[in-house]
Amino acid sequence: MILPFAVDNLFLPGKAWKLSDDFAIKTEDLTKAYRSFWGRRKVLALNKLNVVIKKGEIFGLLGPNGSGKTTTLKLLLGLIFPTAGRAYILGKPTDDVAVKNRVGFLPEESCFYRFLNADETLDFYGQLFRIPRKERKLRIDRLLKRVGLEFARKRPLKQYSKGMLRRIGIAQALINDPDLIILDEPTSGLDPIGTKETKDLIVELKAQGKTVLLCSHLLSDVQDICDRVAIIDKGELQISGTIGELLSSKDIVELLIRNLSKETIGEVEMFIQEKQGEVVSIKNPSGTLEDLFLKIVHERRETGWDKSEMSD
């Protein structure tokens, strides 16, 4: 397959990985096929995914609905089991329960015990991490303040709005002060202020040296904060790399020149034409992640290639 854009070498499928301990997540031909009740293969949700996420970066995992993003996260967290391939979190296989002490997870839907209040919810998850009582209380206070839920800490979660549930979800993902935070649609349901605060929080986590794996449909959010992204569709990795690499156009040269007069610009333009070059624009070419995302998905759909979806 010829990829239309620059590709980070780390993500080439089938590449032999150089083992190192500076990765937070690594998958090797990670495959997941869901089976029917009778054990027959129903759908290939993830097909030989090879991804390495380095420690200390914010990584965005993008894809349309049903592309295999959430399946990837569930496989990484050991909620479901791979049909083939392997995955490692912080250097440990995903079935190692102890490594979860260093992982925080925000699921796509904020699913908590609705009869508990915010305090009790965080206390429950804190106890699962065996955090001592005093430390737990300190962390709960700090996190509730950080996500702006101090005012509703004694209110049962069933009375929370979707945005508030998202905030408590983020708080519970951070209760153990994790090294790796996996966030599935963290800004879903949040108002613009909440979205900004969440993005700031993610950047702040990165500044603290933590790794963030982020799944989102809100491409502008991903573009704003992610160091690197990967786009998957129908269970297969389509493209990945840094935002800069992915959004730049290789056949267009961009010169950033300061303090150039109009005359000089004209001369430069003429010089380029003399050298058989074509001046497209004197402005920097720019694209959005959204354009890229839609292009990738659209191209894939147009080819009608449907290999990954296998039926009985």
Partner: protein, 428 residues
């Protein structure tokens, strides 16, 4: 261990805050208190029996229902609501989730038993006090002794099913008791006889019988003539001095009239000696019932690891229903066997016999599976204690031990399967 306790506490809190536990308790208490208003025909003891019976049935019914519905629904609901995905994403071994849930249900059942059991106890005590003041027999927890041997003396006794019929002047039923012991030696021995009767004159509801009580060690014989009524047990008391401290007794019963017949079963004669504390007996009853609830929790948790919520509830109710009729299931299997045998019993040689396809199907599709089920499914007869209270009998320690041992064995069988299945379960 801390994680198990946290999950258990959470499970309990869920049942309390969702008010499900209180619904069961309130419904149970309504039924328990309603037993006082049940119409009763008979003496004061009958009233106490009704109250005791209703109380134990209510506790068993609502306790089982709570155990089944709560424990069968907890894991499937948590998976459906995706709460379990946040829990399993934490450093929690899945085995701890199972243990935590079970412990949580044990808390729940404990609270239910404590509340319903306390109210029932007070109600039974008050009823007994009221009936005793009116001259009725109060609360009983008599020590029961089973015969070590039953022999039918005489040649012409007919046996139909488990009933032996003995005729007057020809046969006699001989029960032998050993190891009779009571702390209070001054207590009288109480003998209760429940016989079927067949008199020549059908209109007569009573037949005369001769009862001989023999002390084998001293060879002392006491002979009494009594009358046995149809459908009414015969009670008579015996001075404990007639035992001479030997702890052995032989009771011989035979109809006096040659035309009368007595139908005898092994449990037709029961001997009681000594009274135990009712409170202690009541507590023992609750312990046995709680063991049954625990077993139901284990089964429901097992089902919840691989079945959906409605299917699991149906599965648990099916197990509970069948577990209470294992005898019937085995009998049904025997009945089919008898029909099958009779069908072929026409004096025709086996070669000439034509196979009855219906019976072959009946054998393979119904009989064998039913028989197999009756052995695989838990036998809840081990936990049935209501009869002890109705009859005013002290629950023997062996009954508690057997119930407990059976529950432990069944748990040891079910729990590893639950762990195995849940460990491989995908929490999508």
């Amino acid at each position: 261990m801390q994680q198990i306790l946290v999950i258990a506490k959470q499970t309990f809190k869920e049942a309390v805050r969702n008010k499900i536990l209180f619904i069961f308790i309130i419904l149970g208490l309504i039924t328990i208190c309603g037993s006082v208003f049940m119409p009763v025909v008979g003496d004061g003891r009958e009233k106490i029996k009704i109250v005791e019976s209703m109380c134990f049935r209510s506790i068993t019914f609502f306790g089982t229902l709570a155990a089944v519905l709560l424990s069968a629904s907890s894991i499937p609901t948590d998976i459906e609501n995706k709460v379990l995905s946040t829990v399993t994403a934490k450093p929690v071994q899945r085995i701890n989730i199972i243990f935590g849930k079970i412990l949580g249900f044990v808390y729940i059942i404990g609270v239910l038993l404590l509340i319903m059991g306390s109210v029932s106890y007070v109600l039974i005590r008050v009823t007994a006090l009221k009936e005793s003041s009116q001259g009725g027999r109060g609360l009983l927890a008599r020590e029961k002794f089973d015969p070590v041997d039953l022999q039918i003396a005489g040649d012409s006794a007919r046996k139909i099913g488990n009933v032996s019929w003995i005729g007057g002047g020809k046969e006699a039923a001989v029960w032998k008791f050993k190891g009779l012991y009571s702390k209070d030696k001054n207590d009288d021995l109480e003998i209760e006889a429940n016989f079927l009767i067949e008199a020549k004159k059908k209109s007569i509801g009573k037949i005369p019988v001769k009862v001989k009580i023999i002390n084998p060690s001293s060879a002392r014989v006491l002979t009494e003539s009594m009358e046995i009524s149809r459908n009414k047990p015969l009670f008579f008391k015996l001075n404990s001095k007639s035992l001479d401290g030997s702890g052995e007794l032989t009771v011989v019963v035979s109809p006096e009239n040659p035309d009368d017949f007595l139908g005898i079963r092994s449990d037709s004669l029961r001997l009681f000696w000594g009274e135990k504390s009712f409170g202690c007996n009541y507590l023992k009853g609750l312990i046995v019932i709680s063991t049954q609830f625990f077993l139901m929790v284990i089964i429901a948790v097992l089902g919840s690891t691989f079945l959906s919520l409605p299917v699991n509830i149906l599965f648990c109710l099916f197990v509970f229903f069948c577990g209470n009729i294992t005898d019937f299931m085995r009998d049904l299997s025997t009945v089919i066997n008898i029909i099958e045998t009779r069908e072929h019993d026409h004096g025709v040689s086996a070669v000439m016999q034509k196979s009855n396809i219906f019976l072959i199907y009946l054998n393979h599709i119904i009989k064998k599976p039913i028989l197999l089920l009756s052995y695989i499914l838990p036998d809840f007869r081990y936990f049935s204690v209501g009869k002890y209270f109705i009859d005013g009998i002290n629950i023997p320690g062996i009954k508690i031990l057997m119930g407990f041992g059976y529950a432990v064995l069944y748990t040891l069988f079910c729990l590893p399967i639950s762990f195995f299945v849940f460990k491989r379960k995908e929490i999508a």
